[in-house]
Each structure stands twice: as C-alpha cells, then as structure tokens.
C-alpha cells in the first residue's frame, strides 16, 4: 500500500522559447553613465551580430513561474529519502548556502592581491589540514573540481612519481567492481587498464592481485569500502603487495562516508586518494554538481601536486608557484572555492566527534535496511555492509522484472530509486545508500515500499513493468531519444507541443 504520496495537480509549462514574445523584458540596466558606443562602428560589421537568433524574450514573472513550475517536477532530498547508492545523498544544511554567499567570499577575484584575500586563503588552509587529519594523509590539494577530476590528478601524481623513479610503467589495475571513472581516468593518463576480478565475497582477492602485479603495473585503484559496500579487510596486505612491486595504491574515496572518524586511509597503506566533498561533506548535489574532488597524498607524492600550493610564513598566507616537480595545473585558479566553504562549514558544524557519529549512523541505517530487505531481495554478498547495501534482482528477474523496473515502481511509492545496475559485478544490482540523515520513520517507509513492490512483482509483474503510474511524466522512451537525438529546441521542431 502506498503511504507516502497522494496525487495532486502540477502546473504544465512550455519551454522558455515557446513562452517568448518579441519585446518582452525581464530586466532593467542602470543608466549608462558614459557615452554609448555603436558596436558596428567600433568593431566593424563583420565582428558584430544583428541579434541572437531565436533567443528568448520573457518577463520577470514569466521567469519565476517557468523555473518554479519546472522545479515542482523534480524529486529532491528536501522532499524525502534519496537512497542513490554511491552518491551519498545526505541532507544539505542551509547555513552552508548562506556563508558561501558572504559578500567577502562570493565576490572576490582570484587575481586580487593576496593581501586582500587572506580570509579566503585561511579557509583553504584550514580545510586542507582538516582533510589531512580526516584521511591520515600528509598533504591535500583542493584544486580538482569533482571526484573524477581528483582521480585524474591522483593518477597524474602517480605517474610523475614513478617517472621520477625512472619508469612511469604501463598498466593500472582496476577491480571489476570499480566506478566507471576509474578506468576512464587511467586511460586519460596514458595507462592501459587491467581489470581485477573480485572474489565471491565481493572483494579483491590477494592471490589474483599478486599475480596481476608486475613491474609494468603503476597503480591499483581501490575503492574502500568498495562499491558493494564491503570494507576491503585485507587492505593493508593489498597495499603491501602493491608496494613490494613499487606500485602505488590509489584510493577512490567516494565512500569515505563509511570511514570518517572510524578509519583513515593514511593508516592502512593508501598513497593517494580523492574525496568527493559534495558527498561525504554534504555540499548540495544541485542536479549534478558542482562538486569538489580534493586529493590527499602521502609525503612522497607531495612534490608533484598541482600548483600553486598554499604556504604560510610570518602569519601571512600566500601562493607558491615555484614547484619544479609539479604535474601542473589541473584547472584554472584554485578549485571550486564556493564548494570548499560549504565543506568547511559542514565539518565545523559536526566537529570531530560529530563526524564520527554521522559515520556510525550512516552504517547503522544501511544495515537496518539490509536487515529488513534481505528476506525479500537477494543480498549480493554475505559480507557485512558498511554505508550501503547492494542487492541483486535475481528473484524478481525470474518474473521478468528487473532492477530498473523495481526502481520505476518505487517512484510510485514516493521515493527516488536506489542506484540501478551498478556495480557491474552484481547481476541487476539494487544499490541502496540511505545516509545518516534519514530517520527511522523514513527508512521504515522505504523498506515497506520495497517489500510491497517485491510482493507486486509476484502478483502482478505486468503492472510493475509499466510503472511509474502516478507521475506527471510516465516512462520515458530513452531509446528513441538516443536513436534520433534532439538536443536543442528549434523554432519548428516542438512548436506543436507549445500547449504542453
């Protein structure tokens, strides 16, 4: 029985272009206090355009209604649990939005004198040291813009280190459970990828690994806890094996929400890792970013970090550009500063003890769900779960219903689905990460919904296959979208739907 939602009306809304009518205005500029210049005269006709063809013309009220109506078509954390595995969709404290908008922080230019940016530098400095403490690493760069960008940085560092030792090597080992960004990153750094098969406990098999590690191997990209939510208990041994062969251990830290305050990668043999500040440290996901992919390293990798590096002397912060061994910039300026501010605010609000409690609650919630769901869904691996629990759709598949269908039906129950069919090593995976900010009531509703769906799969698989049934947009034809891509509005193409 559906307990969490009821149908209501939502406003339709055309595309902005379909709302547009010539001459409508939503802005007013201050009066120009200097002589106006004629662009064509000043720049020549060849350099100027007559108009931005088909660009929208709408009023201020059109704009607010357009986007407000659109927003009501979205699901969001503010509306309910968002158990998207591997994405750590936790509550985003609003104070972080406020402080990030402080005039002295939001309106400072990256090239203004360092003497007029000491507050910003202090924030960066403090965050770097707190992340070093949390990860147990020696140095941190905040330049990368997201996790994948952090991976790129980390593997470039790896390569630079090995290069400095005379041989950059050829291969990067990636467990078959790894996130797609791992192999993609290795390739971008000129390495070939060798997949490591996980064992029947869902973790890296030391024997398999040992065999794979040759003089050609530059690094292992390990995710811990891994993407099936299982902690790699042999991590120290794994690191040993790699280090013995002179290879580097890179840790994908996307799952740090399971470890903060409990275990530190720096203490279990990791050389370099990235953190997803937008996951573990709760900066809003914003429909797909922005993020920050801070990279933490051990001493031996520090000389290769991207520049500039922050330094402090005589009580003053400044940027150091004199870094002979640096791999070079991975982006302009100093990173997603606005995201860094939010992450630091989050850390300050929790404090050391609070961060640890958050981690424990995250693991508690995942294990609670696992317990409630295990009778109804096939758990992927028996090993204990950390911050997320992963099931397979084996039982439901027998009735012709796959994880993606169950996900769609879950929408009718008022939830955003879990992560579908990732990791790849789990056949038809349901990857569920509740995070610590969900209360028991919401978790019970989620379990209740998934159990109810499991029942529906038995009684009426057809109905489940057609879900969702209660949303303003029913199942979308993604195949058609890819077969005949329409990636932009054009005057004719969608006019017929204007009333929509």
């Amino acid at each position: 029985m559906i307990k969490k939602v009821r149908p209501h009306i939502t406003q339709n809304e055309p595309l902005l272009f379909e709302r547009s009518s010539p001459g409508k205005k939503g802005y007013q500029l201050p009066d120009l206090d200097v002589p106006a210049i004629d662009p064509t005269q000043a720049l020549g006709a060849a350099n100027t355009r007559a108009e931005i063809e088909d660009f929208p013309e709408v009023s201020e009220v059109d704009v607010i209604r357009h986007f407000t109506r659109l927003s009501t078509w979205n699901y969001a954390i503010d509306l309910g649990c968002y158990p998207l595995g591997s994405c750590t969709m936790k509550y985003n404290p609003r104070v972080n939005e406020l402080v990030a908008r402080t005039e002295g922080l939001a309106w400072i230019h990256p090239y203004q004198p360092e003497s007029l940016a000491q507050g910003a530098l202090e924030i960066i400095g403090v965050l770097e040291s707190m992340l070093a403490e949390i990860t147990g690493m020696d140095a941190v760069t905040l330049q990368p813009a997201a996790g994948a960008h952090g991976e790129l940085t980390g593997i470039l560092l790896t390569r630079a280190l090995l290069q400095s030792r005379g041989n950059a090597r050829k291969k990067v080992l990636v467990p078959d459970s790894a996130h797609g960004t791992n192999p993609a990153t290795a390739t971008m750094c000129g390495y070939t990828v060798e997949n490591i098969k996980s064992n029947d406990r869902g973790v890296i098999d030391i024997a398999t690994l040992s065999q794979a590690v040759t003089e050609d191997v530059a690094a292992l990209m390990v995710t811990n806890p891994n993407t099936v939510g299982v902690f790699e208990e042999d991590i120290k041994k794994i690191a040993e094996v790699m280090h013995d062969k002179g290879a580097v251990v890179y840790m994908d830290g996307a799952n740090m929400n399971a470890l903060v305050g409990i275990a530190r990668p720096g203490d279990f043999g990791i050389d370099v890792m990235h953190l997803n500040l937008h996951k573990t440290f709760s900066t809003p996901h914003g429909g797909g970013g922005p993020g920050s992919g801070a990279v933490a390293v051990k001493k031996h990798l520090e000389p290769f970090l991207p520049g500039p590096r922050l330094k402090r002397d005589g009580g003053k912060w400044s940027w150091n550009y004199d870094l002979p061994q640096s791999v070079g910039r991975v982006r302009a300026f100093y990173g997603n500063f606005g995201v860094l501010v939010r992450a630091l605010a989050y850390i300050m609000a929790h404090g050391g003890p609070g961060l640890r409690v958050a981690t424990m609650d995250a693991v508690l919630n995942a294990n609670y769900l696992r317990k409630l769901l295990e009778p109804h869904y096939q758990i992927a691996y028996q090993a204990p779960s950390m911050h997320e629990c992963v099931f397979s759709d084996d039982r439901q598949a027998k009735r012709g219903v796959r994880t993606g269908d169950i996900a769609k039906r879950l929408i009718d129950y008022g939830f955003h689905p879990y992560t579908v069919s990732f990791p790849l090593i789990v056949h038809g995976a349901l990857m569920i990460e509740p995070t610590e900010t969900e209360g028991k009531a919401e978790l019970d509703l989620l379990a209740d919904a998934l159990i109810s769906v499991a029942g529906e799969v038995e009684q009426d698989p057809e109905m489940v296959l057609k879900a969702p049934h209660s949303t303003r947009t029913s199942r979308v034809d993604e195949v058609a979208a890819a077969r005949r891509p329409i990636l932009r509005w054009k005057p004719q193409s969608t006019a017929s739907l204007a009333a929509d």
Partner: protein, 424 residues
C-alpha cells in the same frame, strides 16, 4: 534499530574492521559549533578579504551584476538538493532546464549542439582538444599564446601523457591578434586542432574566419575558446569554428575566488558522438507527452569505462542553471544592451589611456603603464578602494609595464576616472 540488526551497539557495526586499520585516537578536530558561530567565523574570514572595492580585474573572471532571480531559483530545494537526473520521471525540472541551457548555448555560439556543462572553461579546452584528436585521428594541437595562460597550462597538464603534443603560436605585437603567419608555419598534416580565444586574453577580438580557413585548409579543426560570455551578446558568433569551449562565469556566477564556474563544449552536429559530458535529449513518455532524458550515454564512463570520451561524471549543473536563469532574465535584448554597456564603459576608459594593442576590443584592453610599473599604478589605487588591473608581465615576460584592464556595467565613471588619474 540495533535490535533489528542484532548488534549490541554502534561500535559492533565496525567490529569486522581489523584493529590495526581502525583509527587509533579521535580526530583532532574541535567539537561541533553552532550555526551562529559558523556564520560568525565566515563573516570574519570574508572581512579579511577585499570588501567594497571597485575592481578592474577581468582576465577570465568578470564582475557582472547578479540578478536576484538567480538565487531565488537555484535556492529552491527541488533544484538545489536533487542529483544527476538519472530517473527522468521525477527529474523533468532539471532535464528541461538543461535542455534549455543547451539550446541557449547553441544560439549564443552558433553551434549545433552543446553539452550540459564542463567543470569550467580551462578544463573544457583540453576536453575539446581530445575531442578533436578523436575526430581527426590526428594527435597534435596548436594553441594561440593569446589564449588564457592558465587554460593553456591545464591543456598541457592533460596533454602530457596522451601523446598529444601541444605547441603555441604567437600574436601580432601590434594588433594583439593571432599571428597568422606563425600559425600557418606551425600547421602540418598531424595537426588535429587550432585553438584560439576571442576576445582573447588581451581583450582583443580575433579574426576567427581566417583562423578557421587556415585550420581547415590543413584538415585541422578550429577550437574557439571564450572566457567573457557577455561578449556574445553583440559579437558575431564563431560560426566557422568546429568546436567551442567556453566559460559562462559572466552569467550570474559569482567570482568566488575562481570557482565553482560552468564550462561548456558546443560543436557542429557531425561531431556529436565525440562530445564529452552529459547530454539531454527530447523524447516522449508512454502517454505521448514531451519528455526529456539523459541521452547518448554510451559515450560516457559509466558505460564505456576505459573507452569513454572523458572521465567526467559530476559536472556543474547548478551553476549552469544560474547561467540559464541569467540568460532568461536578460533575454535577446538584454544581452545586447548589456554588451553595449560593457563596451561603452571599456572604450570610455581606454579613451583616456594609451591601449597597448590596436585590435578591436570588447570590455578588456591592455595599456602601457608608461612612467611607472603596473604594480605602482595598482598600489596607488588601493587607498581609493580600487583594485586595478592585471600585471601582464606575470604571464607575458615581453609585456613589461603593461596592465590588463576590464570594465563591466558595474564600473562607475568616477572610478574609471580615478584609474585614468593613477596613470598620470
């Protein structure tokens, strides 16, 4: 909940972690602070930075007015606290706005297709270069020295291990535009792409047509870079370019000490399959209603893994939404009027100084500081609560005593007069 799980306490949830793996002492981070203390802390940090200064810095980050509507929209939890729209049935809000973003970017740039965003302009450039390499099957790229110096650094960082040699070509010392002869000399049949920026780092508008002709004549693609999106309100879009890699910071994205910003890649339709990043496409739902969804994801890392067009996953969606709202508020007329105001202000100030280059410029220009050094001029302005321009020698040793000044609609006449004074 512990009972349900069947463990006595929270600690037991971690009992399977080997002791020597577990943390030995509590994190050395002070206890949690109140909301009030946190606001206090960041206000204090903000107060240590420049406050209430007028600034004439541009160089890739521009000080434009940010309409209130922008935060009104992006602060709505439905946009702020949702994630990548994997489930289109409950993500049409985000998907529709991205589709509109892609469309407006195409309209601005004159390209056929645009993606949902890249990290920023600087990372969009190497992604565009890699895209050109995939398209042409060639490996070499040549970049104008008048492309943002930090963008070129990033290009080199990305390029270094991909067997993608990067070579610079010069600019004309007089006009400040690319040196076509030098470009031609650097082109060969291994060249995948020519990269130029316009307005370039000196604020000068490049001759994109000629650059395109040269590149195409050698079978290379032209990658057009922009850092000042506001210029596209009035400038002829790079219709002859093959790929456009740009930064939208000018569109309601606060300078925020350099990020988060929103980069974008747009291109000719035929290169679609080689585009990096997310794409939103139009389709229908089972009832025949128009609906949008992520599409062509077979290009992406989560499907293609080591063969993906890029490793990018999380991008800059919320920031791109800021730009989308901004473009909606200003619209066709507004962006034009805005561009004219920017130009008019810059040309007013330039009129009182001696520009270093003769090429046409939009809202940025280089000037000789004559008698004194750029540093001296800036020092003289600080007491007046004015942050001057960028000392170009920082990136261009050959440009001693030369300053890059930027004016936007926010620059006040009195302040511009002050700046002119400081050169006296």
């Amino acid at each position: 909940m512990l009972d349900t799980i069947g463990v006595p306490d929270l600690e037991s949830l971690f009992s399977h972690l080997p002791d020597d793996v577990r943390i030995q002492k509590p994190l050395n981070i002070p206890a949690g602070k109140s909301e009030y203390d946190i606001i206090d802390y960041f206000k204090a940090r903000g107060a240590e930075n420049a406050n209430g200064y007028a600034s004439f810095l541009g160089a890739g980050v521009y000080n434009h007015y940010r309409p209130v509507m922008v935060d009104t929209i992006v602060s709505r939890g439905e946009f702020l606290t949702s994630y990548t729209p994997y489930q289109p049935e409950i993500s049409q809000g985000t998907l529709t706005s991205i589709f509109e973003f892609q469309t407006m970017v195409c309209q601005l740039t004159g390209m056929d297709v645009a993606n949902a965003s890249m990290y920023d302009g600087s990372t969009a450039v190497p992604e565009a270069a890699m895209m050109a390499v995939r398209v042409t099957g060639r490996d070499r790229v040549v970049a104008s020295r008048a492309v943002h110096p930090e963008y070129r650094e990033v290009l080199r960082t990305y390029a270094q291990h991909q067997g993608m040699p990067v070579e610079d070509f010069g600019y004309d010392a007089k006009s400040g535009q690319i040196d076509l002869a030098d470009l031609e000399s650097k082109l060969d049949n291994k060249t995948a792409a020519v990269i130029i920026q316009s307005p370039n780092f000196f604020g000068i508008i490049e001759n994109t047509k000629q650059a395109a002709q040269l590149a195409h004549s050698k079978g290379a693609l032209l990658i057009f870079v922009f850092t000042e999106a506001a210029s596209l309100g009035i400038l002829e879009p790079p219709r002859d370019a093959d790929i456009v890699a740009g930064e939208l910071q000018s569109f309601a994205i606060p300078p925020s000490y350099g990020g988060p910003f929103a980069g974008v890649i747009a291109a000719k339709e035929k290169f679609l399959r080689q585009m990096p990043g997310r794409l939103v496409g139009e389709s229908k739902d089972t009832h025949g209603n128009r609906a949008f969804c992520l599409t062509l994801s077979t290009r992406e890392q989560h499907i293609r893994r080591e063969k993906a067009t890029s490793n990018i996953c999380t991008n800059q969606a919320l920031i791109a939404l800021m730009a989308t709202v901004y473009m909606s508020v200003y619209g066709k007329e507004g962006l034009r009027e805005l561009a004219v105001q920017n130009m008019s202000k810059a040309h007013y100030l330039a009129g009182k100084l001696s520009p270093r280059f003769t090429g046409p410029f939009f809202n940025e220009f280089a000037v000789k500081t004559d008698g004194h050094s750029a540093g001296e001029v800036n020092e003289a302005l600080l007491p007046k609560k004015i942050i001057g321009g960028l000392d170009l020698e920082r990136f261009y040793p050959e440009l001693k005593d030369t300053m890059l000044l930027c004016c936007t609609e926010m620059s006040r006449r009195e302040q511009m007069d002050e700046v002119a004074q400081a050169f006296k």
